[in-house]
């Protein structure tokens, strides 16, 4: 394997970066994001006190990868001390927030009549707000949990970028809401009270206060995400054109959001033996080599490019992941 001249070809620098608080792992579907993020989490758990791994992919794979069931609450991963994992659904809803989890969220909105509908329409007319809300809730939850490091296993590329954009979207949306409520707050309050108040005995002010609270959380998180000391994004890709293309696009967009990225994982590399009779493997290896050269050329100077082999068996279960994760730190020696 040709080593990078400038940057180390492992994730060791990321492990050593003790100031890190948020790590995102993302890439196209099927490139091994979950495996990579699980491996990274396992390695991180060795050097940090407490690590939380969160999957925001709707097709939750964490449970699959570790071979145990995870849910909405953080649960420790058996066999890996200091690592907890959770799976969240990014498709929550603003209703949950307004009704604070009550079943009668819809009724609450109906109860508000025209104003409620207007409120709802407005909230939904801002793209991404729905998911942003649930993301914000998670962030709030996570912030209160005091983990030393949080790793996000994000959904495939498109989703990832939207997810990272959320703090911005969210701030804008909430700003609008606050401004509006300051103007019409009294009026809405009167309406609500005339109809006997919101269900669950909440007052409109409470809802607003909660939103304001959320906004502060978001603003805070936003600042943290843009700080390269606290946050980094690790793209995972395979040496194929589309994956490379998406990765390049993603890296450019991340630059636009001012989110740091300085390490990438090239996954599923084939290393057929020299006297291998498998024609398919050899020709694929040739193709991968071509793209690897391009990757080294394009990113070699600014990125830690970590090269991971494609194994013969599936990487599932804690032992498999642990052994796989070693290769993130110690560059894989290709059998010639």
């Amino acid at each position: 394997m040709a080593d990078d001249s400038e940057m180390e070809a492992s994730l060791k620098p990321i492990l050593d970066q003790t100031s890190l608080k948020w790590v995102f792992v993302g890439g196209k579907g099927g490139v091994g994001k979950t495996t990579t993020s699980c491996s990274l989490a396992v390695q991180m758990a060795k050097v940090r006190k407490s690590v939380l791994l969160i999957s925001t992919d709707p097709a939750h794979n964490l449970s699959d990868a570790f071979g145990m069931k995870f849910g909405k609450d953080a649960r420790p991963v058996e066999g890996v001390p200091g690592l907890a994992a959770m799976e969240i659904d990014p498709n929550g809803s603003i209703n949950d927030l307004i009704a604070a989890g009550g079943d009668d969220a819809q009724d609450a909105m109906q109860g508000l009549g025209g104003v409620g509908n207007m409120f709802q329409d407005m909230a939904f007319s801002i793209p991404g707000v729905d998911e942003a809300m649930s993301f914000a809730e998670v962030l709030k939850q996570v912030k209160g949990m005091e983990y030393e490091l949080i790793i996000f296993d994000t959904a495939p590329t498109g989703h990832t970028l939207r997810f990272l954009q959320f703090p911005t979207v969210m701030e804008k949306a909430l700003e609008k809401l606050s401004a509006l409520s300051q103007q019409f707050g009294g009026m809405i309050n009167n309406l609500v009270n005339a109809r006997g108040g919101l269900p669950n005995g909440q007052s409109f002010e409470d809802v607003l206060a909660r939103m304001e609270d959320l906004r502060n959380t978001i603003g805070d998180v936003n600042k943290q995400f843009k700080n390269p000391d606290l946050t980094t994004f690790v793209p995972v890709l395979i040496p194929e054109f589309l994956s490379l293309y998406e990765t390049e696009r993603m890296i450019q967009e991340l630059g636009g959001y001012e989110i740091d990225t300085h390490a990438m994982v090239v996954n599923q590399l084939l290393f057929p033996k020299k006297d291998n009779p498998c024609e398919q493997c050899n020709s694929r290896r040739k193709m991968q080599k071509k793209y690897l050269e391009q990757i080294d050329d394009l990113y070699g100077e600014d990125f830690h490019v970590v090269k991971m082999p494609l194994l013969v068996e599936e990487v599932r279960g804690v032992p498999a992941i642990t052994s796989f994760s070693e290769m993130l730190v110690k560059p894989f020696d290709a059998p010639e």
Binding site: F241, L244, Y245, E248, Q252, K290, Q294, I295, D297, L298
Partner: protein, 211 residues
């Protein structure tokens, strides 16, 4: 007051000419002159065109590079292209907004120089007779209209004079245009501009009966 008479006439002529040339053409012409002058905007316009060329060049180069075979080169070109394009879009927007302001200023100045001037003159000379008409030429109510609004009865007011000038200029111009059209046999304006004049039984120069 021959000077006011002349002034109003010339002003109406000027307004007519401006309207004939068209507001947009006037704006475009002045903008062209303005960007030729050594202003910061003329520099920006030059920069903008360099930038546009750069974007086009990068785009062409990018298209000529195979993303599959030469991804690193292609990606670098694309980064450059995106950067240049962003910059271009940004500057073009600034430029456009300046142009809008420029147009607005020109429009205001044009109005002041034409209609505004006419209004001012109308107000200023409203009580002065432009000239007198011999007594008894026209009945009282016509005299009243001719001196409208505030000139002394029996005289021509500046408003009426301006309207008269405008009408006469319009008629003369139309007449000249018609004559010219007939002479050349080609329609000079309107949707059928440039077509041959079609008239039965007129053997004007260049008019050929088409059957």
């Amino acid at each position: 007051m021959p000077s006011v008479l002349l002034f109003v006439f010339l002003l109406q002529l000027f307004i007519h000419l401006l309207n004939t040339v068209g507001k947009q053409s006037v704006n475009d012409l002045l903008w062209l002159l303005f960007t030729k002058l050594p202003t910061p905007q003329s520099k920006a316009a030059a920069d903008l065109s360099t930038l546009r060329n750069e974007v086009v060049r990068l785009n062409r180069e990018m298209k000529a590079t195979s993303a599959q075979d030469d991804f690193a080169k292609w990606a670098r070109l694309r980064r450059q292209h995106d950067k240049a394009k962003d910059k271009y879009d940004n500057e073009a927007r600034n430029h456009q907004s300046f142009r809008t302001n420029f147009d607005r200023a020109i429009t205001a100045a044009r109005w002041l120089g034409t209609q505004g001037l006419q209004f001012g003159a109308n107000a200023w000379y409203s009580k002065q007779p432009m000239f007198w008409i011999p007594q008894g030429w026209v009945p009282y109510h016509i005299e009243w209209v001719l001196s409208f609004p505030r000139a002394p009865l029996g005289s021509i007011s500046i408003n009426v004079w301006a309207i008269a000038c405008a009408s006469v200029i319009k008629m003369i111009v139309e007449g000249v245009m018609a004559l010219w059209t007939l002479r050349t046999g080609v329609v000079k304006e309107g949707p059928r501009r440039g077509e041959r004049v079609q008239m039965e039984g007129m053997g004007g120069v260049g008019v050929k009966k088409e059957l």
